[in-house]
Amino acid sequence: MNSWRKVQTGLVSVALSSAVGVVAAQAAPDSWHGGGDDVIVLESVGGDPDFIGSDAPGERGTLPTGVGWAHVFGYELRGRTAPYEYAAITDSGAHWCTGSERFADARVDVPHNVYITHLRLWAYDNAAGHDVAAILFRSCLPTVDPGDPQNTILGMVSSSGSPGDFTNYVNISAEPTNTNLCSYFIRARFGTGCGGGGETTFRRARIQYSTSP
């Protein structure tokens, strides 16, 4: 755990200027997060293998573990711009875009003062030329003062190639949640021009959090 804490405390935040650089240089659109120029991107961290192992059922619902989860179905996504054209089905939770806007967001119901440890995406990708991704954002405002929101990417998971049914996760390393100042949401990214259609669907995302670091 010591090494984990060192890694955690050594997190590198990409500064505003770097984020601008990333956006400006988006020659490959499928690497873009769709967040504009003012997004900070936290580096993902490999993490301690033992800690990664905690993304397992364990003793759910028991207080000592202090672990919880929040899910978002694909069909909870709202398009980033309107009119947003999409389709969805209940049984798999799948959502996919059908127009030109390829980003859609859904709020995540996160408790205050917990550590988000993992982001997991379930999706379907049967189109080799287009991927589907989930990007976890934190958006913060001052306590009472007006101001621009400070948006930070906490982590991203994406499909690759055409795996069909797909799930993957990423470790999240960030300070505890602060629902006083911040909102948390997951942004789905589909293929350019909604390429892939129903062959690239966002089914569900889950965050795992812990009450202790």
């Binding site: 619902g61 069909y75 969805a88 209940t90 569900r204």
Partner: protein
């Protein structure tokens, strides 16, 4: 004093019957009364819905109630909307109640409470289970419909999320002839936490 004893006995019987029916009525205001202290309610306005597709036409300004008013005035368009939710661990889900309005010449409503559980780590499609259903037909005007839930239904938040689905007829015909004729005003989920203090969460001593 001669009246006091029968009166007290009657009250005791009433209380016994009250607690005996335990936690299974959502018709009256019971919060704060014995055996109902642990009830909790989560609700949404109609416009909190997630339409199944952008072809689901709706308005919500009929009377400032934030209701979801189906506005597919002709054939075509999606008629399915959803209200997904989670509840804290160890809660028992008891009821889902839906308020709305349904006038003449509107599509019948099919309402379902469903549970979607995924495999914890594997990329298989989730398992969807229908927990309860109700329907609203004809023209009741304002309505309040209820889905009762088996008392053993408890969330497993590592795997599952719930959804209330409302289907407003089929795409073969109009769902409503005019705004406000068919609308969902509110959804409420009633649950209880039987062990509020310890949440049944003590481990066995080793």
């Amino acid at each position: 004093m001669t009246l006091a004893k029968p009166l007290m006995a009657t009250v005791a019987l009433a209380l016994a019957a009250f607690t005996g029916t335990g936690l299974r009525a959502d018709d009256i205001e019971l919060r704060g009364t014995p055996a109902y202290n642990n009830m909790d309610y989560v609700g949404w306005v109609g416009t909190a819905a997630d339409p199944s597709a952008h072809t689901a036409a709706y308005i919500s300004n009929f009377d400032n109630s934030s209701s979801y008013d189906c506005a597919n005035g002709g054939p075509g368009g999606s008629r399915l909307i959803r209200y997904p939710f989670m509840l804290p661990d160890l809660r028992q889900i008891h009821f889902v109640r839906i308020w709305g309005q349904k006038a003449d010449l509107t599509a019948d409503l099919d309402i379902r409470l469903r549970r979607s559980c995924t495999n914890f780590l594997h990329p298989v499609p989730p398992v969807m289970t229908t927990i309860g259903t109700t329907s609203v037909a004809e023209a009741p005007g304002y309505f309040s419909a209820l889905i009762g839930v088996d008392s053993t239904e408890m969330p497993d938040n590592a795997l599952c999320r719930y959804v209330v689905e409302v289907e407003m007829g089929s795409a073969a015909s109009a769902c409503a002839a005019y705004p406000g004729a068919l609308r969902i005003m509110k959804i409420r989920v009633q649950s209880s936490l039987t062990d509020r203090i310890f949440r049944s969460a003590f481990r066995e001593a080793f």
